[in-house]
């Protein structure tokens, strides 16, 4: 047997249904193997110590995006973070910033999904499709690869400084999703729709602090997407100025 180590977990507790009770940190002592994952520790705390603790989890393998949270100040997925990697014997767990709290570590993701829907995240075609697949070169497929990898965990949205001051800002994940389609060789969306984002609440709202890139557990670089969309927008406006594209509805 490998010996376990006792860790102190201080976990943010708050129930949105009982706003009269102020948020607090509850302390739990638990003996785990150092290479245990934070999610395993959380599950054990809920099972063995406090059945009322609320947090989301599902796949346990860093693909479903359920369990992004703040661990000792750093945003990560609880399922792939080893307890020992946090480097302390006291571990503070807090919910993702920039969201309302439903209960404990579970936040209300509604604003995140609203922004996702706002960018119209689906493939748009005007020309008819062939009976077989639309051809796409390996190079064209690779161009969208990093944005395809996004698991919509909202770690980037939690890390971004902009949503706190501007709730209208779409946030890194939504813009990365938009860029995933704009860059897709099969997508035929009119680039005029980017004009709706041509303002301080949209593409120009990003402070380019790269917090989203640091927070992403999947090596997606949303800032690249935002810079790419800005370029596409400017290019589109030039083309329009030169009469190379018609006004689009």
């Amino acid at each position: 047997m490998i010996a376990g180590v006792t860790y102190t977990f201080k976990i943010f507790r708050y129930d949105g249904k009982e706003p009269e009770n102020a948020p607090r940190f509850a302390t739990y002592l638990i003996n785990v193997l150092p290479d245990s994952l934070v999610l395993s520790a959380l599950l054990r705390i809920r099972d063995e110590i406090d059945g009322t603790l609320a947090f989301r989890s599902s796949c346990r393998s860093a693909v479903c995006g359920s369990c992004a949270m703040v661990m000792n100040g750093k945003i990560e997925l609880a399922c792939r973070t080893q307890v020992a990697s946090l480097g302390k014997d006291t571990i503070i767990l807090e919910p993702l910033p920039n969201f309302e709290i439903i209960k404990d570590l579970a936040v209300d993701m509604t604003p995140f999904w609203k922004m996702y829907e706002r960018v119209k995240p689906w493939l748009m075609r005007k020309s008819p499709v062939p009976p077989e697949e639309l051809r796409q070169s390996e190079e064209e497929r690779n161009r969208i690869d990093q944005f395809v990898n996004c698991i919509l965990c909202a770690a980037c949205y939690g890390a971004c400084p902009v949503p706190a001051r501007d709730p209208e800002y779409p946030g890194p994940a939504a813009l990365a999703k938009l860029e995933r389609f704009v860059l897709d060789s099969r997508d035929e969306r009119p680039l005029g729709i980017l004009e709706g984002l041509n303002n301080e609440n949209g593409l120009w709202g990003c402070d380019t602090l790269f917090k989203c890139i640091d927070a992403c557990p999947k090596e997606v670089r949303p800032t690249d997407a935002i810079v790419g969309l800005r370029k596409a927008l400017v290019k589109h406006k030039f083309k329009k100025l030169l009469g190379m594209v018609k006004d689009e509805a």
């Binding site: 047997m1 490998i2 249904k17 290479d35 994952l37 809920r46 099972d47 063995e48 406090d50 059945g51 009322t52 603790l53 609320a54 947090f55 989301r56 989890s57 599902s58 796949c59 346990r60 393998s61 860093a62 693909v63 479903c64 995006g65 359920s66 792939r80 439903i102 209960k103 404990d104 579970a106 209300d108 993701m109 999904w113 996702y116 829907e117 119209k120 995240p121 689906w122 493939l123 075609r125 499709v129 009976p131 077989e132 697949e133 639309l134 051809r135 796409q136 070169s137 390996e138 064209e140 497929r141 969208i144 395809v148 990898n149 698991i151 919509l152 389609f181 897709d184 099969r186 997508d187």
Partner: protein
Amino acid sequence: MLHHDIIIVGGGLAGLRAAVGLCDRYDVGLFSKVHPIRSHSIAAQGGVNAALGNNPEGKDDSWEKHSFDTIKGSDYLADQNAVELMCREAIDIVYEMEHWGCPFSRFSDGTIAQRPFGGAGFPRTCYSADLTGHVLLNTLYEKAVSKRIAIYEEWHVLSLAADGERCYGIIALDFKKGEIVPVCAPATLFATGGYGRVFQYSTNALINTGSGIGIAYKAGVPVKDMEFVQFHPTGLIGTNILITEAARGEGGWLTNSQGERFMQRYAPNALELAPRDIVSRCIQKEIEEGRGFEHPLGTYINLDLRHLGEEKIQKKLPGIRNICKDFIGLDPVYEPIPIMPCQHYSMGGIDTNIRCETALPGFYAAGECACVSVHGANRLGGNSLLDTIVFGKAAVSSIHEYMQENNVKREETLLEDLEKKWARKIACLTEGQARPFRLLAQLGKTMSDHVGIFRDREKLSQALNDIAALKEEYGRVGVSSAHRHMNYELMNAIELEYILEVAQAIALGALRREESRGAHCRREFSLRNDEEWLKHSLIERGRDGDPLISYSDVTITKYQPRERTY
């Protein structure tokens, strides 16, 4: 009370595909206990099978050959008409997903890339690196968003509203608000996924409890072939996270502690790409005969990718490389991956025909929770994603016909009574002392120990006794708080009742089936016995709550059962 034309439960591939097909004509409400994008379809890695013939080595492939491989893979228990439907549809399904935006990996000519997979005569598995479930689920969710489908995320189903004659809807729990809500609809489709978490060692997500199957069973719907449980050969030791079959499809080797590629002894032609039931048994045998590696987390076998080289691993299996780095701290470019067989897939499930219809009018099932059966006694890799989308789509026409032909009256009183019953039941749940996690852990251990890869009468009887004891203990189940919102312990307790029924059906089906077929391997009956056992097991809940077992014929079209060698 909510009203919809059609209720869909489950936001994975099958549920979303059905919703997308029905929402233009009907008012669809999709209920999912997690946000749809968190559904377990997201975790599928290797790919989806369709005889496109894009691979230069697959030019002679056809949907008929795909059917044959699937039927042989199923150890001849699959219904051949259902398999033919699935394999024929596969081609259009993959093109449709591509047209909807699915970013498949590509060959240099721009066509969808295809790789070899276990038990398949041709390289026909379409993929996107090793994240195929991720890209398919995102694409279908994107389609659902574009169609503005009403999605109730984080709503749990407590029970079906049915009177034995017909299904009238569901009783749901809005988990965020904590409200019990009856939902009334003429048609209900379950796409609730498999029962992996019944086992201690499973690659499945924590949400895959099989409770949807248990809910249907308790409402009187028969379940089929529950004893057929797929154990995936390559689950990572410790966390049991799936290491895709594509790792072997791309050329990975399995080696034992003597450095031997032992599959050469068991399946000299297919080697590591024999079907999963066979490879899992071989690994288990190597381990039992002392040729595994000892580790504090369990005995393991090596999955060696080193000879593939960094470039290929990074290009074809980037997700696997990340999983190894994150969860076991090794890089498969330099070290073999320690693996063990783990529960992975539920071949059995709610008994349906090829139209997704169940014995209960107005109630349908599709995807892993259903048993059509297209996988029979053993599913081939790359056929589960296919099953979800093909039968999610098949449910569309069946439900459409039902809606046209039936004018179902609303049974609001039945729904209201159930709502009150659930409110009372939940309020009482704080009184019990048996914690749900303890009962579930005991169940998982029993199932993994006694209903695993190799089975015998003694172990299976033991499992049934343990399950009976746990069912009795469930009468004393209790939770810390009766609050209904975001109370995961409460949901665990509610689901456990259904999980126990599912476990009982698996163990009972396994005890009764006195032969070895596909994933079901009995030590005392080591051969397949077509004379007596070429039939589906059906289990129905009797009036006294005890399971009643019966059997039904397998549909054979043109593939007569033969010996299965690879």
